[in-house]
């Protein structure tokens, strides 16, 4: 039986990702942070700046997962339609948020707080702001959906600042075993161990570095004892097979 961990989904919004112009690094950053918090990421979906598609994906994900994170599409230009789409998904109006407007007014002088920029102060009516210490224009959250900008530097700082507000899930225990034997040689044994310890999850990652190659195994689960037992069983097998294992 597995303990219930909080589940999350990530929605990356932006034509520039789907055209290959931009390499998405935000989901990787967020996956790492969520893993640390003990929150599973169950799906990452990259979608275009199309209102209908954003609405459908938001409504699917917010029912499916405990937390949903979005990045992209909350800037000042005409193709930034995330806020409007999320308001529609939640069936609320999009309104000028006074606090957001004040922050932008403080940040920009009158003549550069254009209509386009002021657009960033419009958020869904019942949403709450997420601070943006870099470029001021805030993110927001509504229900279980957390909405962030797509610019990586700003995204990363906002995530780190905001994360303490999210309930912690259960933490993983994790052990690593490395060996100089290849996946093809150890696959059958690892499968046996996986079947024996059903509460754990074994990941197998081949590596190639300069003149050495081998496999890094990551054994993780909710139960410390099970993780340790499985890791030692794998370690002992690899030692017996002269696989120069390391356990840490």
């Amino acid at each position: 039986m597995k303990l219930l961990r909080k589940k999350s989904g990530i929605i990356i919004i932006g034509n520039e990702i789907l055209s290959g112009k931009t390499l998405d690094r935000n989901s990787n950053f967020l996956c790492k942070r969520l893993l640390k918090k003990g929150i599973d990421v169950q799906e990452v979906s990259i979608i275009p700046d199309i209102k209908k598609i954003i609405i459908e994906k938001i409504n699917l994900f917010r029912k499916k997962f405990d937390y949903v994170f979005t990045t992209g599409g909350i800037g000042p230009t005409h193709d930034d339609i995330t806020s409007k789409s999320i308001a529609e998904a939640f069936n609320v109006d999009i309104v000028l948020n006074n606090e957001a407007r004040k922050r932008l007014e403080k940040h920009y002088s009158d003549d550069v707080l254009t209509k386009a920029r002021l657009k960033m102060a419009f958020i869904p009516k019942t949403a709450k702001l997420i601070d943006n210490p870099v470029s001021i224009a805030p993110g927001f959250y509504i229900g279980n959906v957390f909405v962030f900008p797509g610019v990586p530097k700003i995204f990363q700082i906002m995530i780190d600042q905001f994360f303490d507000k999210i309930d912690k899930g259960n933490k993983y225990y994790q052990k690593n075993v490395t060996t100089i034997l290849s996946e093809g040689l150890i696959g059958e044994f690892i499968e046996k161990v996986q079947k024996k310890f059903i509460s754990i999850e074994i990941g197998s990652y081949p590596y190639f570095k300069k003149n050495s190659f081998g496999v890094s195994l990551i054994i993780k689960g909710d139960k410390k004892k099970e993780v340790e037992k499985a890791s030692i069983e794998i370690f002992n097998y690899l030692k017996f097979k002269n696989g120069s294992p390391r356990l840490f």
Copy 2:
């Protein structure tokens, strides 16, 4: 009215991506290649190595898109379950493919062609092989689903080799306009142009380089004339606003 372009979806399979351990670069590589071919990528989905989830996503995507590409999960270890899952999605058996077996036998000597490695010759019954010039174990395609390994170097070579077999879609015409003015200052005008030329798509990408910043606008569409007209209209506006535009 937009011309019909072929639509594709990409499914990235692997727990190591969702845990943040590995940064996915395969989808970015493939998005670029597909753009060149004139094929739209409408969604990228990153999902875990869980059979039920793979089957559901395959069946959803193959109905939704003209082409579906998957990477990951066709290696020799117990957590490589993509082939089995795709067979099940198509309701066919997974069988030892003679051609694939022969290739592996030729590549490996008897004592290293382990049961785990031979697993890579099992593919869905009606599938056809996709050559792998690097590590031999083939990919395959069945219906409109194209299945590739996840190791980036191998993936990239296999994609490049295989691509000529896919029907070409319609090509985009594309123009670029750059300016030293910010998104906030030009957003309203760009929105007007977007509304005027409904067959085109304008993307707006701020850039920051050393001491300069500005915006790069990408104007694309099926109709060369429309793309050119819109680009010139934007260029002239930016020139009038002293935005030092470049058009190319």
